[in-house]
Symmetry: C2
Subunit: 201 residues, 2 copies
């Protein structure tokens, strides 16, 4: 026994849960005891949901989203605007934009950012697929919704260069003051960008 429950089954469950982001050994032990106490309401449904996910979840071959169907629900939704493709780094970014209902267009998940130091080049991301989709005459705008980090912006510039030949319109998210944000807590770069992009009141 290497420091957890007194049964090997529970030990294994604790070790697996402890590998989830945001959980460590201590919180995994608490989670397991909580699961055992809530057997009907939580343990059984969670086991079923995980088994269903393991069996059915797939990656959309068009946009890189995760779903139980391929193409995903967004790619196959006729109400979606086929003319715009919103490019994100990760599926979590796609989810965030969907929660905000920020776009009615389609998505394209890159799967990360260019990072030569980590050995991540253009071939490791879904960039060639994006160029192919952008070549479709029905697509008129590519929105680069990558993170405002050095890696994100580097990737955005690289993609913009490649898209230049296709003639498609390339846009990016605005920089500015977060809604509800206080100026005093903002960094200089954001304040300067918000000032440059000021709009009529």
């Amino acid at each position: 026994m290497n420091g957890s429950a007194t049964s090997p089954e529970l030990d294994r469950l604790i070790q697996l849960l402890a590998r989830l982001p945001g959980l460590g050994p201590r919180s995994a032990r608490r989670a397991v005891l909580h699961l055992i106490q809530k057997r009907e309401q939580l343990l059984l449904p969670l086991a079923d949901a995980l088994a269903a996910a393991a069996e059915r979840i797939t990656i959309c071959s068009t946009c890189g989203n995760v779903d139980t169907v391929d193409p995903c629900a967004i790619c196959s939704d006729p109400r979606r605007d086929k003319a715009t493709i919103c490019v994100v780094e990760q599926v979590s970014d796609l989810w965030a934009l969907e929660r905000a209902q920020a776009t009615k267009g389609h998505y394209h998940v890159l799967g990360g950012t260019l990072s030569p130091l980590d050995g991540i080049g253009p071939d490791d991301l879904r960039i060639a697929d994006l160029i192919g989709r952008a070549g479709n005459p029905a697509v008129s705008e590519i929105i680069l919704a990558v993170n405002a980090t050095v890696e994100g912006q580097t990737t955005a510039h690289y993609i913009t260069d490649l898209l230049h030949e296709t003639g498609v319109r390339v846009t990016r998210l605005a920089h500015g003051v977060p809604v509800g944000g206080e100026l005093d807590y903002l960094d200089d770069g954001t304040l300067a960008a918000a000032m440059r992009s000021r709009t009529p009141f």
Copy 2:
């Protein structure tokens, strides 16, 4: 869609994971994406481990420990000292004492503490079972390893009164300076208790 993934299966998985202690909606979303990326190494094993736990985990009818067998591995281990029973509030406390290899005796999990305000009385805890076990002539010592909280100590006093008639020896964990602890950060009660219980050097 109430703010998570774009598929109902993933939405349900996120909602279930978010109900674990230590996880919220955001970390549950991260956990699900992590699980999908680590399908073979984490998602499938975790689904199996949860299903196995749901099927096999039971509560030891003797001591209240959780295990896949009843009586549990500790209660049925012949190398364990049958003469001492260590009383704890929760299974997590039992696990902590086992990790510390603090006792070679048996355990008794109360399942909580007396708490009149929350409507938890003696009948809601495994106290009658404990009195029954303490009446066994083979048992010579009851170690009260409850938390050093008001509720824990109240429960300890209640149990001690009940055990008085059995004539069994009742002990409790020592108060004192935690190993590796700094005096300057300790509360007055602990320092005073450590001074009272000082030992020859």
